[in-house]
Symmetry: C2
Subunit: 626 residues, 2 copies
């Protein structure tokens, strides 16, 4: 297990990163106040061919579909991107204009200063990291979005999000008119207008978070809350066993291409600091970390040697690099640890087990808990969002929803209220492994005991019997928990429990989770979510094969699968497909039926009309599609 890392070669890295736009897609930008420019992916659709009679054919235009786009500038061929300098700093002017931060001369953490000039890691280092910003000293030094929200300020970040989340407004007027009112009613009461003010209210109430460290000015702001689109997180990161920095930057760009709304860098090993800088500088989505992993590296893996001082320095180090949210396992209390002893699978959270080990070894309370207010002081100086870790989450179906898990959840609620007293943003992490009938109660308990702070769950897996397919076992749980009100779903890849995900696993995990999140949004009745389904369904019914591929979550695979059976170009316009062949094509027969029925209006005319149509159909109908 070598710790030697390959030097970062920016040219090689740049050549690896996928920058192709999606098929028939282009970036369009919606303009808002404060110079807000929200990117959408606009998918062009082909015309519908309407056969008015055997002789007369006409074309009808289909409005393009605009969809929420997490891929950042990478899919914009116009954007000049240099991995050595990182992405443009979209938020820089907004942050500066608030006048409540100061730019430091350099890192203020001991570790950050040490590593900035360490010759041993020079070849791995991002050459010119920006000088960190921090809230100006003094009473209330707080630059969190929650702090602004509670003072009634609608920030540019909030305006950006309001525009971005509004799927209906994104569509062209024709599409709106055409599809308006088609999406289903909801028990969720989500028929609110998504405005900057609405975003502000949700953040002020703690029901939503905007992970947006002032040192991560590169991000395209996004929100996590159950009254918004359900979000998806992708975990990346090397381990002591495998992978290098370029791999991880490439995986991050790949992950956002396939829909990751945030990315957690879970790297371990000796070069976490350098890896993170490359990722943050080049990421348009918020980055989360688990700082205890790096702290543990600093004490050579000996959990007992962890100290508050070391951890504090790590938080500052990472906050000044621009990490947007920290997983903090402050709810693993000493008295809860024995509750896990009789479990089928004990403690399965890495952070949770590290803190449990520390608590047991010292017979002291978890220092993350005892220093929680100190942590809040750091969080608000940079606007880092808490992701309160579920260190005692179940690791198997047998352990789901047990006393250890729910005891910790109650403590996370207590900590939420402390953080909120500091105007620090909070989300709550959740399980894990939960059978289907025990999923919804997790959300109910979280909303109740954590006061509606956004819930962020890992899956959950709904069975343990399918390693190799845990993206599926958990997508089932994720769709259900998302529907019940979970705000963000942490993906699980096919490699879960078996190995580290490679590029293809990252993609498979993301597609499964975009499906789960979208299924949840449909079930919640999120305004406009169904426009995408409607567009692809209509394309399918009209045999617009190219449009079906373009509108697919994964256009490449949809096309490849089609071509395996019917590779010829002609088959792309065929009015049937390989599943049924021409004689059995129900879609084609349906179109005949629709044509036969379309002139009927009044219900009273129905029988007569049908008789007439039956005759006409017999004369003209038969085998149009041979």
């Amino acid at each position: 297990m070598s710790e030697v890392r390959r030097a970062v070669d920016p040219t090689r890295l740049a050549s690896r990163i996928t920058r192709d736009p999606f098929p028939a897609s282009r970036k369009v930008y919606a303009e808002g106040p404060h110079g807000v420019r929200v990117p959408w992916r606009e998918i062009a659709l082909s015309d519908t061919i309407i056969q008015d009679s055997p002789e007369v054919t006409r074309l009808e235009k289909n409005a393009p579909l605009r969809v929420y786009d997490t891929s950042g500038p990478y899919t914009d061929p116009q954007a000049a991107i240099d991995v050595r300098t990182g992405l443009p700093k979209l938020r820089e002017a907004w942050i500066a204009a608030r006048g409540d931060t100061e730019q430091l001369a350099g890192p203020s953490s001991a570790f950050g200063r040490e590593r900035a000039h360490d010759p041993a890691t020079a070849a791995l280092r991002f050459a010119q990291p920006p000088a960190p910003r921090r809230a100006k000293a003094g009473a209330g030094a707080n630059v969190s979005q929650m702090h602004y929200a509670r003072r009634g300020i609608v920030t540019p970040e909030m305006e950006y999000i309001a525009l971005r989340e509004n799927l209906q407004r994104a569509q062209l007027p024709e599409a709106l008119e055409q599809n308006g009112g088609q999406h289903r009613g909801s028990w969720f009461g989500m028929r609110h207008a998504i405005t900057g003010e609405f975003v502000r209210q949700e953040v002020a109430a703690g029901r939503a978070v905007i992970p947006a460290n002032i040192n991560h000015a590169e991000i395209e702001p996004m929100i996590i809350g159950r009254n918004f689109l359900t979000k998806v997180n992708a975990n990346i990161g090397n381990s002591a066993v495998t992978s290098d920095i370029e791999d991880e930057v490439d995986k991050m760009v790949w992950a956002i291409r396939w829909g990751a709304d945030t990315v957690m860098d879970l790297s371990t090993g000796k070069h976490i600091h350098e890896t993170r800088e490359w990722i943050v500088r080049n990421s348009p989505v918020p980055i989360g970390t688990v700082p205890i992993y790096q702290a543990l590296e600093k004490v050579n893996g000996v959990a007992e040697d962890l100290t508050w001082e070391l951890f504090r320095d790590t938080l500052i180090e990472q906050a000044e690099q621009g990490v947007d949210y920290f997983t903090i396992h402050a709810g693993v209390l000493l008295r809860y640890v024995p509750l896990t002893a009789k479990r089928m699978t004990g403690i399965v959270s890495r952070g949770g087990s590290i803190m449990a080990k520390w608590c047991l070894a010292h017979h002291q309370e978890n220092f993350l808990y005892t220093h929680f207010e100190d942590i809040c002081e750091i969080m608000k100086a940079y606007d880092v969002t808490f992701s309160l870790g579920d260190g005692l989450r179940p690791g198997s179906i047998a352990d789901a929803n047990d006393e250890a898990q729910f005891s910790e959840l109650h403590t996370l609620g207590e900590l939420t209220q402390i953080a909120w007293r500091h105007d620090v943003q909070v989300m709550i992490e959740g399980p894990g492994h939960v059978p289907l009938h025990m999923v919804a109660v997790n959300v109910e308990e979280e909303l109740k005991h954590c006061f509606e702070a956004p819930f962020y769950t890992l899956g959950p897996l709904t069975t343990d019997i399918a390693p190799g397919y845990d993206h599926i076992t958990s997508a089932i749980g994720a769709a259900n928990i998302g529907w019940a009100g979970t705000a963000m779903l942490c993906y699980v890849t096919p490699k879960e429990h078996l190995g580290l995900p490679d590029r293809n696993d990252v993609k498979q995990g993301l597609i499964a989770y975009k499906i789960a999140a979208h299924a949840a949004d449909l079930a919640k009745g999120y305004p406009g979510a169904q426009l995408w389904d409607n567009a692809i369904s209509r394309a399918r019914f009209e045999f617009r094969w190219e449009d079906q591929f373009r509108l697919a979550l994964d256009p490449d695979t949809a096309r490849a699968f089609h071509d395996e059976t019917l590779p010829k170009e002609a088959a792309k316009t065929a009015h049937f497909c390989s599943m049924c062949g021409p004689k059995f094509c129900s879609m084609k027969i349906s179109q005949d039926i629709r044509n036969a029925a379309q002139s009927q209006v009044a219900a009273g005319d129905l029988k007569q009309e049908l008789a007439r149509k039956a005759e006409e159909f017999r004369k003209t109908g038969s085998e149009i599609y041979l």
Copy 2:
């Protein structure tokens, strides 16, 4: 689109079929009354290594796990199988002993007689099909399992099923004791004993069906009903565009290997009859078909030319070959067809669209509806089970749960009562494409309007935006609808909407659906379902890597994924894995915690004990796992 089929070469076919047993697995047979021998797959597990102290290690045996096995004799290396003669006829003696059937000299259908001696298809023909059986003429000529059940008879098929469904009884006494009471309580009230008498009651009430044509004596009896294990169907079948007979027989064997409880042969094209004979004779699971497909072939694809007489001959032809259930689209009534005209995607059922076309062209009521009692007469003479087709199921999220769909469902309920008056078994087909929040009501409506007849659904897909991944979009819906009480889930493969599934797609579809079915069984609290999860969770916690692979739904993939990151044999016994590396292994830390906590018994001693353990832990604990 050639209709030429390759001659069937039995030697080549036999060499293609996968007959390897699963790793570390063997067939064991449970004996019951009437010569009943129920096959189980028994998975051997390795010993747990217990480290009592740094010096003292001991081994603890783990009882093997027995699981429900659909794979038939193919995975038994002792079984002699000859594809030319087909599988042994397990049920032959039971059927003969009932004395209510007669063996015919040959097929009684016109088509069956014609094809038995057609020189053009000689090279495709199964050489010696068994002479068909039929109920003896006379009043009440009825050989259905429902007929027996209602007369109080517990058939050998019912005894077989009672033994087969009993997951707890399958385990060795130790395992039972060890795991008893671990599975979760249920809202479903399923804590009944699964006895032959219970099976009889469920079949008599119409709540369950046993698809078991007297001409398919080769099957290992199975049951479909919501108070039993959730079942999975796999569709296979060639189309006019692709594939041959050997491919389909191979796919059938492959499908049951990966867990298909029944297989539907949806072949179209000129040689449906010959393809079916090969499949039925070699299948240990019930085979379903959609007879209208073959009827349509017989009229060269012209729906208007279909007649009752032609259809009737097709039913008899297929019943005498041994098809166990027929999808019959008798609920597509003339007056419902216009309800589909304003849909996003019209009619998407092939059978439904054929019948709708026929109804419109003739302006007459569906002949399957008007001749329904005539169909019942055929069904009961061979014990073919109705699968009442949902010809008007929705083909898109936008069309879910609409008037057309539910109107047809009400008609299916009416037909169910007619079939039951004839003691003919019935299940009801369901959708299709349904967003998550509209799934459960499908089951509620079906149970209410179809009087608790078993529900058999296709998916449903919970979103339309992911062609290429519809095994996942639909596994989400399938798990939910299974939990709500659907008895059998028809799989969807990754190729759905794009192309015909190949061998790998069949496997991917099945794994996704076994996951959905098992997730549903866990949620329903099916007695013993959780034993499998518990076995793999315990193996995971104890780093028994080989056992994790063996216990996986797909052992081959689990092992391959593990080996991609850590290929060495030594890694199979490593007390950590590639995900976290040795320092971050939460499972290992958990074991330390368990050891530290295990001697605590009384709650009062807790604090003192923890302090003592903390001290001990500091002295001995640290890096055991380096």
